[in-house]
Symmetry: none
Subunit: 217 residues, 2 copies
C-alpha cells in the first residue's frame, strides 16, 4: 500500500487552515511546532511542506519571528523553474524569439498609452544618441518593459535577458543609432505598427551581431 505522501496532505491542511482562520497576506501563520502538534505529525514533515510552499513563493519565513503568508508579489517560482527548464539546451533562437515576443507586445501596449509615449525618458535617450553619449541597450528595452505595466511579463523578460548572452547588456554602437531613433520616433508618434516593426528590425540586427560574437568565442 503506497500511501500518499504526508507532506502533501500537510500542504492542503495548511491551505485549509489559512482559509478557515481567514489569514490574510502578510499575516503570521502558526509556528512549526504548533502545526506539528495540532496536525499530529513530526516537525520535519511540517517543514518539508512549508519549505515547498516557500519555494513557490506562497509563504515567507523569518527566523526568530515566524512564518507569514506571502503577498505573492514575487513569483520566484518562475525563476527556479526557468533555470531548470532552460538547462536542457534550448536553442538560443527560441530564447531570442520569446524575448522579442514580450518586447514587441510591450511596445505596442505603450503606444496605446498617450502619457507613456510623451515621457521625457524617450527624449533623454535621443539626446544621448545625439551627443554620442552611449548607454546600455538593455536600459532602453527595460524602460519599455517596465512601462508596459505587466509585471509578470517583465519578470519573464528579465529572466530571458539573462539567457541571451552578454550582448544585450553592452552599449549601443554608432551602427545602430538610426534603428534606435526609428523606434523612439515611433513611440513619440504613438504608432504601434511602426514601433513594432522598427523594434523588430533592431532586434534582428542585434541577434545577428550577437551570433557573430558567439562564433568568435
Amino acid at each position: 500500500m503506497n500511501q500518499p505522501k504526508r507532506y502533501l496532505d500537510i500542504v492542503l491542511d495548511i491551505r485549509k487552515m489559512i482559509s478557515q482562520e481567514k489569514i490574510r497576506p502578510g499575516d503570521r501563520i502558526p509556528s512549526e511546532r504548533e502545526l506539528a502538534e495540532t496536525l499530529k505529525v513530526g516537525r520535519s514533515t511540517i517543514r518539508e511542506a512549508l519549505r515547498s510552499l516557500e519555494l513557490l513563493g506562497l509563504i515567507e519565513t523569518r527566523r526568530g519571528e515566524g512564518t507569514f503568508l506571502s503577498d505573492h508579489r514575487n513569483h520566484q517560482l518562475v525563476e527556479v523553474l526557468s533555470t531548470f527548464i532552460l538547462q536542457d539546451n534550448q536553442s538560443q533562437k527560441d530564447v531570442w524569439e520569446t524575448r522579442m515576443i514580450h518586447e514587441i507586445s510591450a511596445i505596442q501596449t505603450i503606444c496605446g498609452n498617450e502619457s507613456a509615449c510623451q515621457l521625457p525618458v524617450w527624449d533623454s535617450f535621443s539626446k544621448r544618441i545625439e551627443e554620442e553619449e552611449s548607454f546600455l541597450r538593455e536600459d532602453l528595452v527595460k524602460e519599455i518593459m517596465v512601462l508596459s505595466g505587466n509585471r509578470l511579463s517583465l519578470k519573464i523578460w528579465l529572466l530571458l535577458a539573462q539567457y541571451s548572452g552578454n550582448f544585450y547588456k553592452s552599449r549601443v554602437t554608432m551602427d545602430e543609432t538610426e534603428m534606435i531613433e526609428d523606434v523612439l520616433a515611433a513611440i513619440r508618434q504613438q504608432d504601434a505598427e511602426k514601433a513594432a516593426s522598427s523594434l523588430k528590425i533592431w532586434i534582428a540586427w542585434l541577434q545577428k551581431e550577437s551570433k557573430k560574437d558567439d562564433d568568435d568565442t
Copy 2:
C-alpha cells in the same frame, strides 16, 4: 548575519549537479544520504530541498527506489497553486495578458507557414463544432502553441496555463462557437492579422466569463 537558507543553496547545487553529471529526465539522482554526505549537510536539509522540487514537479520520488529527474509535466502544482495564489487582481490580469501575448504571437507565426495552416487539425475542430461535439478550449490553443515551433514559448505558456484557473481546461460552449470559427477561418486563409484579432476577441470573452466564475465562488 542572517545567512541565506541552506536548502535554497541545495536546490541550486542539485541543479548544477544535474547539468554536470548530464542527468536526463527519467534518470535517477543520488540518494538523499549520498547527497547529504557529498554536500556536507544533514539529510533533513536535503529533504527540504527535494520536497520543494517535487512539489514543483521537477523530480519524482519512489519509496524504495530513489529520486528521479522528472520531465516537468506534473500537475499537483496546479491545484495547490491555483487555490493559493492569485486572488490578487493585478497578477491574475497579468497572467491572462501574458499568456495571451504568447498565444497571439504563436498564431501569427503559424499564419506565416502555409503547411501549418492547411493541417487537417483545423478542419477536425470545425467538424466537431458543427456536430456539436464539444472539446477542451485548451486543446485548440495548445495546438496553436505547439505548431508555432517555439518550444520555450510553449513551456512558458504551459506554466501560465496552470495559473489560469480551471476555466481554460473546460469545454467550449455554444456561445463561443462563432468566435472560434472566426479563428479557424483566419488560419485557413493564412490571415495573420485577422487571426490575431479573432483570437483576441475570443480570449477577452473567456477572461470575462472566467471572472464571473470566480465571483460565484
